[in-house]
């Protein structure tokens, strides 16, 4: 295998893994604050369709990205209303949010099915343009991919070095204790869900606006659930999430590579690789990492009245 094709595989791994990385971060924050959000699949779809529609209408992909983020935030606030204010079951509400997203995104995206947009400019990272192998290959990325690096640091800093991050983690471990310590668990959970929505919206925007540059019904193909699995794999840590996202992205790239090499495996069977890989990752680490989970994950905060 030539250097060029290796770079090509890495490049497509990064492209397919980015939306997953943002989504995994969102889910990490949610779960750190004690909320399991199974609805991210629906949030991704609504954000992807809204972002794409706005980008196609306005002709400006960046406005599309902002719209996708806002849509994600709003979707998660709806989820927050269910699980925080109405104290509904988190798993059921998450799945209801997923179905809501299936329907709403189809409605939003319908007029734009088959539309192509220009997408976002892709460029070689300024300092690396001198390396010849890179400049001739597909090693050009959009700004959302580069943005992932500072956002990694930002999330790590927010979660582990700020007062807000401390209160968020305190709520996830024990909401009643956090309340006794003077925090407002409900407010913190709402804030977390909104930030998660923004991140998921960024991921969705990368999927529909920057990478595929199209909209198709159910285009996220389970990324919202794979993100939930990757949270366990990354032990609820934002930096480890990068490894998880690259692993999944690599599975997609591997699948594309096998197809490109003309290996006689049905594309329908290759399609299943990322899901089977995710399942295997869950089986390998699901049991052993349970102790790393926030202590009151999934528990509904009943309040103190």
């Amino acid at each position: 295998m030539s250097l060029l094709s290796i770079l090509g595989v890495i490049s497509s791994a990064i492209f397919s893994g980015t939306s997953l990385l943002y989504t995994t971060w969102g889910e990490i924050l949610d779960e750190r604050a004690g909320i399991v959000n199974l609805g991210l699949e629906g949030v991704l779809l609504v954000s992807a369709s809204t972002g794409f529609a706005v980008a196609a209408r306005s002709g400006n992909p960046y406005i599309g990205v902002l719209a996708a983020m806002l849509a994600g935030g709003l979707m998660n606030l709806l989820f927050g209303f269910m699980v925080i204010t109405r104290r509904a079951n988190q798993l059921a509400s998450g799945l209801a949010l997923m179905f809501f997203g299936f329907g709403l995104s189809a409605l939003i995206g319908k007029p734009y099915t088959g539309t192509m947009i220009k997408g976002m400019p892709r460029f070689i990272f300024p300092g690396l343009a001198g390396i010849p192998a890179l400049s001739t290959s597909q090693f050009k990325f959009d700004v959302l991919i580069y943005l992932a690096v500072p956002i990694t640091i930002l999330i790590w800093w927010l979660l582990f070095r700020t007062r807000w991050g401390l209160s968020l983690r305190a709520v996830g471990e024990n909401a009643n204790t956090a309340f006794a310590a003077g925090y407002n668990p409900r407010l913190i959970q709402y804030q977390t869900l909104f930030v998660c929505g923004l991140l998921t919206g960024l991921g969705a925007a990368h999927l529909s606006i920057a990478w595929t540059m199209t909209w198709a019904e159910y285009m996220t193909a389970g990324r919202g659930f794979i993100a939930v699995a990757l949270v366990i794999f990354s032990k609820w840590h934002p930096v480890r999430a990068i490894a998880g996202a690259l692993l999944f992205g690599g599975a997609v790239a591997f699948q594309l590579l096998l197809q490109a090499m003309g290996i006689a495996i049905s594309p329908f069977l290759l399609d299943t690789i990322p899901y089977i890989l995710t399942l295997l990752v869950l089986i390998a680490w699901g049991g052993t990492r349970r102790h790393a989970a926030p202590a009151s994950l999934g528990r509904v905060y009943q309040g103190s009245e």
Binding site: N89, L95, A106, L107, K110, L282, I283, G286
Partner: protein, 353 residues
């Protein structure tokens, strides 16, 4: 979930409870319909035209009504496939995948044992369908029972694998030589087709589904198994300490759920399509999940909500043509209904004991 299952209060008769249940469902559905209408207005559609189109097609003609019943059959199966595991606090979101694997194994039976008479072939296909679905459910059940992975996420992920396997077989080994345009398996022999009634597409699967529903109600209410399952549902740890085999129940109940979803797949391909097609299910498994949660696992509730969901689903076919709405709006309306149920607004709590 328990908010809408009616708990019998001391004085009221069972008829009164039934009326209460129905009124509650109607009320929930009305709220959902208003919210749904608001979304349609925002989307620039006419909600009143959408509703009147749906109702005049589904309830206004014999054909339309029969189509609602046709759609209801797989939904009853998949709703039980979700409701049964939910009795022992298992969340089975994998009915869609289990349905596909059931259809897959049943289709293998239909394509292999072509010389068998109908009275032998149909039960064999039903059995294969149940085996296919339950084997697919066995994987998440085993992982859950061993305490490795939560079944919610595994069943969800496996939904993305099953249809690909089915499509692989349809494009590969089982592809019919006849038609190149639409990949599908060869037509099943007449003996592999479930009989239909009154010149409509309503097939024998309806009777199977209703028998299953009665059986589900009977087992939950009058048998030791039902009692033990309710005990597990109430407090798994206490149930285990009282000698109820928790692990066995998790595996058996999950596989039974998978078997019923598989039966939905078998009855669809045998009763409706007469062959295996890629993507033959428009999300019956997912809708079954919504129905099960909406009904709180209550058998009458499953029957009512399956009918309503089938009505919406049949209506969505018409709305696709008349109003240019995507079929997926079915999910939107059902999801809003589930939101209303889960948020359990105070005026719906009623006379909860």
């Amino acid at each position: 979930m328990s908010q809408i299952t009616s708990t019998p209060s001391r004085s009221s008769t069972s008829v009164l409870i039934a009326v209460q249940v129905i009124v509650r469902y109607l009320f929930i559905f009305l709220i959902a319909l208003v919210l749904f209408g608001m979304i349609l207005v925002i989307a620039g559609k006419n909600p009143l035209a959408a509703i009147s189109d749906t109702l005049s097609f589904t309830l206004g003609s014999t054909f339309g009504f029969s189509e609602v019943i046709v759609k209801m059959i797989p939904l009853v199966f998949t709703a039980i496939a979700v409701a049964l595991p939910s009795r022992v606090v298992l969340i089975n979101v994998g009915a869609e995948g289990q349905l596909y694997m059931g259809a897959w194994l049943a289709a293998w039976g239909a394509l292999t044992f072509t010389s068998l008479p109908a009275w032998a072939l149909l039960p064999l296909m039903a059995l294969l369908g149940m085996i296919g679905g339950s084997l697919w459910a066995l994987i998440p059940a085993f992982l859950r029972a061993r305490g490795l992975v939560n079944e919610t996420i595994t069943t969800l992920l496996m939904n993305y694998v099953a249809p690909s396997i089915v499509t692989f077989f349809i494009y590969g080994p089982w592809r019919s030589r006849g038609d190149a345009l639409f990949p599908q398996t060869a037509d099943f022999v007449p003996a592999a087709r479930l009989p239909a009634f009154f010149g409509t597409r309503v097939h024998f699967g309806l009777i199977l589904a209703l028998i299953l529903l009665v059986l589900y109600w009977f087992i939950m209410k009058y048998t030791r198994w039902g009692l033990e399952m309710r005990a597990i549902g109430g407090n798994p740890q206490a149930a285990r300490r009282n000698g109820i085999p928790l692990t066995t129940y998790i595996i058996v109940i999950m596989c039974l759920g998978g078997a019923f979803a598989g039966l939905a797949g078998m009855s669809e391909i045998s009763g409706i399509h007469g062959r295996l097609r890629p993507g033959f299910s428009p999300g019956f498994g997912y809708m079954g999940f919504l129905i099960s949660w909406l009904s709180g696992g209550n058998p009458i509730g499953i029957l009512i909500m399956s009918f309503v969901a089938a009505l919406i689903s049949a209506g969505a076919d018409i709305l696709q043509i008349n109003q240019g709405l995507p079929y997926a709006v079915v999910n939107l309306l059902l999801a809003i209904t589930l939101f209303v149920v889960l948020a359990h607004p105070t005026f719906l709590k009623g006379k909860k004991a």
